[in-house]
């Protein structure tokens, strides 16, 4: 276990360094004068000058690379070229919003998807099983921003049940919760069907195992067999897929934040692109990558704790 943990840790560090290198290289390969390209043609000469000295664009590339890594590792993500605030404080400001949205979406997907999957597996061929088979594919296929737009149109504009935009007034829990419903639903919709289908397939696989037959032969109740023995093993692939899918989920959150005008990392990056604020893009993207890699690490480790078979080969990276 320790060896596996160690090799995963090394891969994770390598990935974060790779991401940092790539984000750094983007400033080095920009076409034309980097300061002018990154800030846009309207930037004032003073701004360009400040940007050049802050980003160290007048230095040779190896010095800049060294400075970038040293800064990031000491927790300095750079400075917003427009407002002069530190990128780290901008990110920290909106990070909770994105995390709340992402985790409430995962929670909703798991809480509804898992029971649906169990039901479909234990009632094979039933009406719900068939409907689920079609609906899950349909929701996996449709982009989350399209689902978001339809939810917005139906529940906020036509029915006028839920507030349209924003994250709500700070401190007002119910207002914030009401504004979280539609964004959460837009992201979770894709995942409910997907998780349900996954749980169904792995449950069916597990229910055919000899040990399940044995426990039935011992006279354990069907409930006990399904929930205590089958579900536990059927959960393993679900956790793995959730981990792998988190990148997509964060990507979905970006779109949903924009459709519903919610504050968050996605909107921060998007806004920074529109106003050509490259340090903010760089810093916020790096935070998203680190977040994503860390969650993947946790998922991987919990996955191997649940399923000892994975640890045995000891190799890091993705199981092919």
């Amino acid at each position: 276990m320790l060896r596996y943990f160690f090799s995963r840790l090394v891969t994770t560090v390598l990935i974060v360094f790779g991401a940092m290198l790539l984000l750094f290289l983007l400033t080095a390969v920009v076409p034309g004068d980097p300061a002018v390209t990154l800030l846009g043609p309207q930037a004032s000469p003073e701004l360009v000058k400040r940007f050049v000295s802050e980003m160290g664009l007048d230095q040779p590339i190896h010095v800049r690379l060294w400075r970038f890594f040293a800064n990031v590792l000491s927790g300095n993500l750079g400075v917003d070229v427009v407002s002069g605030r530190s990128v780290w404080s901008l990110v920290l400001n909106v990070l909770p919003d994105t995390l709340i949205l992402t985790f409430s979406a995962i929670l909703l997907a798991v809480v509804t998807g898992v029971p649906l999957g169990i039901y479909a597996a234990t009632h094979r061929g039933s009406l719900l099983d068939n409907v689920l088979a079609f609906v899950s594919v349909a929701f996996i296929a449709v982009p989350s921003f399209v689902i978001a737009i339809f939810l917005l149109l139906i529940f906020s504009i036509w029915l006028d049940w839920l507030p349209v935009l924003g994250a709500g007034r700070s401190g007002d829990f119910w207002d914030a919760a009401r504004r979280l419903i539609l964004p959460t639903l837009s992201i979770a919709a894709t995942w409910i069907g997907f998780i349900a289908r996954l749980v169904r397939t792995s449950m069916l696989e597990v229910l055919n195992e000899p040990y399940i037959r044995t426990s039935r032969a011992y006279g354990l109740s069907e409930r006990m067999v399904t929930y205590k023995y089958a579900l536990k093993n059927a959960c393993i692939p679900t956790i793995a897929v959730l981990g792998l899918g988190l990148g997509r989920l964060l990507g979905n959150a970006v779109f949903v934040e924009i459709v519903f005008a919610r504050p968050g990392l996605g909107r921060l990056i998007y806004g920074a692109i529109s106003e050509r604020n490259f340090p903010v893009v760089q810093g916020a993207v790096l935070v998203v990558v680190v977040l994503f890699v860390l969650i993947n690490l946790v998922v991987d480790l919990s996955y191997s704790a649940l399923d000892p078979r994975i640890r045995r080969d000891g190799a890091g990276g993705s199981p092919v």
Partner: protein
């Protein structure tokens, strides 16, 4: 001829299920629309008619008009050409690079193999859309950037599968026999390994089409992909979304078209996988 017969057999299997047949029909409709766009469209997709903004569906404008009075149906038809072009070019690029890297990983030394695998891990560890945002922020939005980003993101997907397939094939008795007969490494790869792994890779490619359509539409929706006045499905949704308070028809029509296309390609891809090899893992 044998390949054609095999293809016909696979398609017959795909169309044997309701889901497969529906998917195949939608795929055919969209491909036909994309190829024959100038004939299928009733209007010039960029022709403005500002007096006729937000016209409801009618005989003249089958799906109504957008905020500049352009014919929505014709714009949707031309959007399918862009979606198909982006999907095909980026998937062909990813398929080629992925296959080459995957085969190299399987044949080269363990060190080179781990370098390639780490490269794949690094690419897949980037949330692809966020990677796209960072790149677009530097190079500015354009269709070729979208194609390159999608190609890079999908390369590990094909590379890992190609490597795994080659590893299982590498020591097969028939390849051993070829080697003893004196066949060169490149001959073995081109004549024997490639034809054996292509089927699986093509199924994966078909399952990636809706993923690419979604990414392209998503980036264009944010104004970071295909630039106006080109009629991408993503820009159509964006245009409709911005004028939601004036008319809900454009956004609903464009979103439905996008959803219809991704759904059709997904259903087709899954049916194709079931027909060829149910063990191929879907992307997620």
């Amino acid at each position: 001829m044998r390949a054609l017969a095999a293809l016909a057999g696979i398609l017959r299997k795909v169309c044997g299920t309701f889901i497969g047949a529906t998917g195949f029909a939608i795929v055919l409709i969209i491909i036909a629309m994309a190829v024959f766009a100038p004939i299928v469209a009733t209007h010039d997709p960029d022709q403005l008619d500002v007096l006729n903004r937000f016209a409801p569906p009618s005989a003249a404008h089958w799906l109504g008009t957008d905020h500049l009075g352009r014919d929505l149906y014709s714009r949707l038809v031309h959007g399918s050409t862009i979606a198909m072009f982006v999907a095909l070019t980026s998937i062909i690029l990813a398929l080629s690079f992925g296959t080459i890297l995957g085969i190299l990983a399987a044949f080269l030394s363990t060190r080179a193999e781990s370098v390639i695998l780490i490269l794949f891990d690094v690419i897949s560890s980037f949330p692809s859309l966020v990677l796209a945002l960072a790149i677009v922020s530097v190079f500015g939005p354009s269709m070729s950037i979208v194609i390159i980003i999608v190609a890079i993101t999908l390369t590990p997907h094909f590379g890992r599968v190609a490597r795994a397939q080659v590893l299982t094939l590498k020591n097969a008795p028939f390849l051993e026999a070829e080697r003893i007969l004196g066949a060169s490494g490149s001959r073995i790869i081109v004549m024997h390994i490639l034809p054996n792994i292509m089927g699986t890779l093509l199924v994966l490619a078909s399952m990636d089409i809706p993923v690419v359509i979604t990414i392209e539409a998503g980036l264009s929706f944010l104004g970071l992909g295909v630039r106006p006045p080109l009629a991408s499905w993503g820009t159509l949704v964006q245009d409709g979304y911005q004028f939601l308070t004036d008319s809900w028809i454009p956004v609903v029509v464009a979103s439905l078209a996008l959803a219809f296309a991704t759904l059709g390609f997904t259903l087709f891809g899954e049916a194709l996988r079931d027909a060829v090899d149910p063990r191929i893992r879907p992307r997620h």
